[in-house]
Symmetry: C2
Subunit: 225 residues, 2 copies
């Protein structure tokens, strides 16, 4: 802990009034009591509610099943641990010697638990609005990625709906090129409707390339209409 | 729906500004869109956070594992359905004909989902503080029961710790009487330490009677000391 807690508070964007709460949130049970387990219990629910609301608002057309899947992927241990790494939470943890020796500072379960505990500490110290803002900041990037992925996924669906309505036909996707070494290939795809190519796209997977192609086709069909 | 939504709002203790939100929360998917599934997704998290905080505050000595078990039992489908029955939510549901014919109005899954949706509707309409207050009202009785059960459970543990420290002995519980018909028996138990009876208790189960006996023994040992 060469760095003080000031930096951590800057990174989460919340200055604590009761710094003891933040210290408790960073104390793993291997170090001694009071540890962060009770805060972890509470913070888990705070994160879940904020993420649920962000998904609810970001995806107004999605049903419960899809929203639940997205939420699970956002709040699973590994995702929380990555977010914890992003704010360098590990260096601030108080760990027992045994945990320290076996790399506890990098363990996903310990990092995820500490992140939940820090969120609970903000919730207790500053109330729901502040906790909401902090969690929103921590998850913003991931939710934006999901939004983009969803919009992309939507291009294929949109194109199919459009061509069925206009041409009574479904779009055909064809891989026209595969480039690069096995571990980092790029695919190029064209999409045709009624024998005419309307869009072309490339990506790290066939799926991604198809989405790009569908996106272009939609734009061109739209311009032409 | 012979009764208006006014009564329901009274029973949950929240008057809606946007009554359409409450109506959506009461619409099962069998009836048509917009149904309550997205609200159910959100409300589930609101209930979980409020219940977590109430448990966190009510049981300051409990660890995460025990708190999690309590939370699970409070928010499981059957518990939510019972709470929904307590506020007569069933009569306000909008159901499709098929669901109506097969007793949907009484189904635990439908009632639990609608309760979650109603809580989300309060959350959207009135904010977190209002939702907190409503959920607290709905769960207050159950959490109080848990608190009493926990305190009772503590008597036996406390007595054992006490007698081991003072007498190097564990308490002995003996059933001295069983009264009443099979389906509503009363048990009477005495607890002795070092051959002397210190407490006596009765209850609807042996466990309850033992707790009462331990409670009395603790008081008498305390008075004597």
């Amino acid at each position: 802990m060469a760095e003080g807690l000031g930096k951590l508070q800057q990174r989460i964007g919340y200055p604590f009034r009761q710094l003891g709460l933040l210290e408790e949130a960073l104390t793993h049970r291997s170090y001694g009591r009071p540890d962060n387990e009770r805060l972890e219990f509470l913070g888990d629910s705070v994160i879940e509610l904020v993420v649920s609301q962000l998904l609810f608002e970001t995806f107004p057309k999605l049903r419960e099943g899809e929203l639940s899947k997205m939420r699970s992927s956002l709040v699973k241990e590994e995702s929380l641990a990555e977010i914890a790494r992003g704010i360098e939470l590990g260096r601030h943890l108080k760990l027992g010697k045994g945990e320290e020796a076996t790399g506890g500072r990098e363990k996903a379960s310990i990092l995820a638990g500490a992140l939940e505990a820090v969120v609970a500490a903000v919730y207790i110290d500053g109330g729901f609005e502040e906790a909401f803002r902090v969690v929103e900041g921590l998850f913003r990037g991931r939710i934006r990625q999901m939004e983009e992925a969803w919009r992309d996924r939507d291009y294929k669906t949109q194109l199919q709906e459009y061509t069925q309505a206009r041409f009574k036909e479904v779009p055909r996707y064809t891989v026209v090129a595969e480039r690069g070494p096995e571990h980092s290939k790029t695919f190029e795809v064209v999409v045709s409707v009624g024998g005419r190519i309307w869009g072309r796209g490339s990506g790290r997977s066939k799926k991604e390339a198809e989405q790009r192609a569908a996106e272009e086709a939609l734009r061109r069909l739209d311009e032409e209409a």
